[in-house]
């Protein structure tokens, strides 16, 4: 009955189109949402340890406190950094799921709390390399001498750690060379980098470098001048790292880089990181040459274009702290 008048009939196609559109519109998301890239990457659980195969018998264990490198073979297990200690039972379980070999070495890339907190418990879970009946049964902790000294002595912002986690093997030369579980391992000291005791660990045969916090693709480096660190030394360390890394093809693959925090990388990310620090250093130096104060430099936002990738406004190391550390160092010149 409603279709009586010719006028209404004339409007029928429009009405029909509108009616047909209703279910389609109701079921389909808005155009804007349909264009949005779905969130397909599984989130990280801060209370869990994630295990990523890297190459050969090298694995990257990711924790909220940083990355741990695990290398194992006939000689046992070598661990690079031990996390902050809060997830040590889970770290140990992850290692045990990979191998039943005893932990022989715990190598530290620095004396930062995030990387040495699990030293004692992981060392106690192991045994000295090549001495299965030794007393005490404890793995060897290895670090640069400067890092070792800082682990043993409390500082205003960090407690000394349990003596079971203190280094048994230290080095004070440029490079300490070891041969462990089928690969040469080089511990390379990068002086006055983030601290005075930073080490790059190079696994030569599988071609993997564990960098500690010299390089993390998701944050500015935590430079600690009170522990002998510097921006200059950090950039020098990155340039040295770039001398070690060799891409396989088209600036990709080849030497793999396990950073202190964040995803597994290769030389490509290290180049971007080195470039970023170099550019920021030049900007801050230029502002200092113009006579700017620290407050004026902070207001100029010399890291603005990198803050989205590396910056933070909260937590233990903010962008302001990073700029301040760089300013104070560069202003001394």
């Amino acid at each position: 009955m409603i279709f009586k008048s010719p006028k209404t009939l004339h409007a029928l196609p429009l009405l029909l189109a509108a009616v047909l559109a209703v279910p389609t519109m109701a079921a389909a998301p808005a155009l804007r949402d349909r264009m949005k890239v779905p969130n397909v990457v599984p989130p990280l659980d801060p209370n869990e340890v994630t295990v990523l195969p890297v190459r050969d018998n090298i694995y990257m264990l990711t924790t909220s406190a940083g990355n741990i490198t695990v290398h194992f073979g006939d000689g046992g297990v070598m661990i690079i950094d031990s996390g902050d200690g809060t997830l040590t039972p889970k770290v140990l379980a992850a290692i045990r799921a990979l191998t039943s070999r005893p932990i022989a070495y715990v190598v530290n890339t620095s004396a930062e709390a995030e990387h040495i907190g699990g030293n004692a418990d992981l060392a106690r879970a192991g045994s000295p390399p090549g001495v299965p009946d030794a007393d005490p049964q404890i793995a060897h902790v290895v670090a640069h001498e400067a890092a070792s000294l800082r682990m043993q002595k409390a500082s205003p912002d960090q407690k000394a750690i349990d003596s079971a986690g203190w280094p048994f093997v230290t080095y004070f030369v440029d490079t300490l060379e070891m041969y462990f579980s089928g690969t040469p391992v080089q511990l390379i000291h990068v002086p006055a980098a983030r601290t005075d005791g930073d080490t790059l660990v190079v696994f030569r045969r599988p071609d993997v470098v564990s960098t500690g916090d010299i390089f993390s693709p998701d944050r500015y480096p935590v430079i600690r001048p009170e522990r002998g660190g510097s921006l200059k030394g950090t950039i020098d360390a990155l340039n040295r790292l770039l001398d070690i890394t060799v891409p396989e093809d088209l600036q990709e693959g080849g030497t793999l880089v396990i950073p202190g925090h964040g995803r597994l990388c290769d030389e490509g990310e290290v180049v971007e990181y080195r470039d970023m620090l170099t550019v920021v250093r030049e900007r801050i130096s230029d502002l200092i040459r113009q006579g700017k104060t620290l407050e004026q430099v902070l207001a100029a936002k010399p890291t603005l274009d990198y803050d989205g990738m590396y910056g933070s406004t909260q937590g233990p190391w903010t962008t302001t702290q990073f700029i301040t550390a760089a300013y104070r160092e560069l202003a001394k010149k």
Binding site: F3, L16, V19, L20, P23, T24, M25, A26, A27, A28, M35, K36, V37, P38, V40, V41, P42, P43, L44, T50, L52, M60, T62, P217, I235, N239, L242, P247, D249, L250, Q251, E252, L256, G262, R263, L264, C265, D266, E267, G268, E269, V271, E272, R274, D275, T278, V279, E282, R283, D286, A300, P302, L304, D305, Y306, D307, G308, M309
Partner: protein
């Protein structure tokens, strides 16, 4: 009576539409073949390359603009590690993109499980998985081409790509961040392939960047490999990273002034992308009397016999 029949027909159509609920039936298309790019869109940007300071049409944020303003092309030479760097997956189809697409068929099920693409420049090889596999976790490495999975939306292939390395949205210094993701729609109309790319870049863009490119099927084309041998030699001091300090790049107005465009318009930003911008934009600083560049032959990849 006629009205009743008409109403019944309408009802059936309505019920059919309601039961579909907005879904479309997948119709798998084979994109395999050799594809020659058509440069009718954005030719100057894609073939000779964009001018410094040309950010027109990009929803840049302030960070991206500073990054681009700081960019010096000298870095290509000085930072030797970048000599063999590929275009990333979201940019690769913008350039000299002679394209080969290969379809991988599961020998048992005879279902398509992946498309493989090769773009000649720097041998940009990419795999797009169709087998429903998940994307890797946050700790997995990023690559130039990223990790791509796809599903059919009707007769379009909808691709989602994550895990990209830091690269560029435009090769004049407009950087793209490592946490960006992008979707693509591949559409084939006979011998014409169109790819629409939609990029989300939380670190560099305030809105999505939408671009499209088209190709023509060219069975006689043969995309070669383009190996790049790394040569780590340059006259720059090791560790040199050429960059303009803020406010010192002298080339930022060249593009606007050559074409007689308002300078603020080519600085990018979402506001400059919409028609309302015309109400507030300033007058161009210059009014060129005649075209001096790319005036006659940027279409269809044609070679300019007497120069552009």
């Amino acid at each position: 009576m006629r009205l009743s029949r008409f109403a019944a027909t309408c009802g059936l159509i309505f019920m059919a539409a309601a039961s579909l609920g907005g879904r479309a039936f997948a119709q798998e298309i084979d994109f395999s073949g050799e594809w020659r790019p058509i440069y009718h869109e954005d030719g100057p940007e894609r073939i000779p390359g964009p001018d410094l300071g040309d950010y027109a049409g990009f929803p840049l944020n302030d960070a991206a603009r500073l990054r681009a303003d700081s960019y010096s092309p000298e870095r290509i030479i000085a930072v030797t590690e970048n000599g063999c760097r590929q275009h990333s997956g979201d940019y690769s189809m913008r350039g000299l993109a002679n394209l080969r697409i290969m379809r991988e068929i599961d020998p048992i099920t005879q279902q398509a499980v992946a498309f493989h693409t090769r773009i000649g420049f720097h041998t940009m090889d990419r795999t797009i998985y169709l087998d429903g596999r998940p994307h890797p976790g946050h700790q997995a490495p990023h690559t130039w081409q990223g990790f791509s999975t796809a599903e059919w939306k009707g007769n379009q292939l909808s691709i989602t790509t994550t895990h990209l390395k830091e690269n560029y949205h435009r090769r004049n210094g407009i950087a793209s961040g490592p946490n960006r993701t992008f979707t693509e729609r591949w559409v084939r109309h006979g011998d014409v392939l169109t790819v629409v790319t939609i990029v989300d870049d939380p670190e560099m863009l305030t809105e999505r960047l939408v671009r499209s490119q088209s190709w023509i099927l060219d069975p006689g084309q043969h995309v070669l490999g383009n190996p790049c041998e790394y040569g780590g030699e340059s006259t720059y001091e090791p560790g040199t990273v050429p960059a303009y300090l803020p406010g010192t790049n002298p080339f930022l107005t060249e593009y606007a002034d050559r074409w007689g465009l308002p300078r603020s318009g080519v600085r990018g930003g979402a506001a400059t992308m919409y028609p309302e911008f015309r109400l507030t934009m300033e007058k161009p600083a210059t009014q060129p009397e005649k075209c001096t560049l790319y005036c006659k032959c940027m279409n269809d990849g044609a070679v300019c016999p007497d120069g552009p």
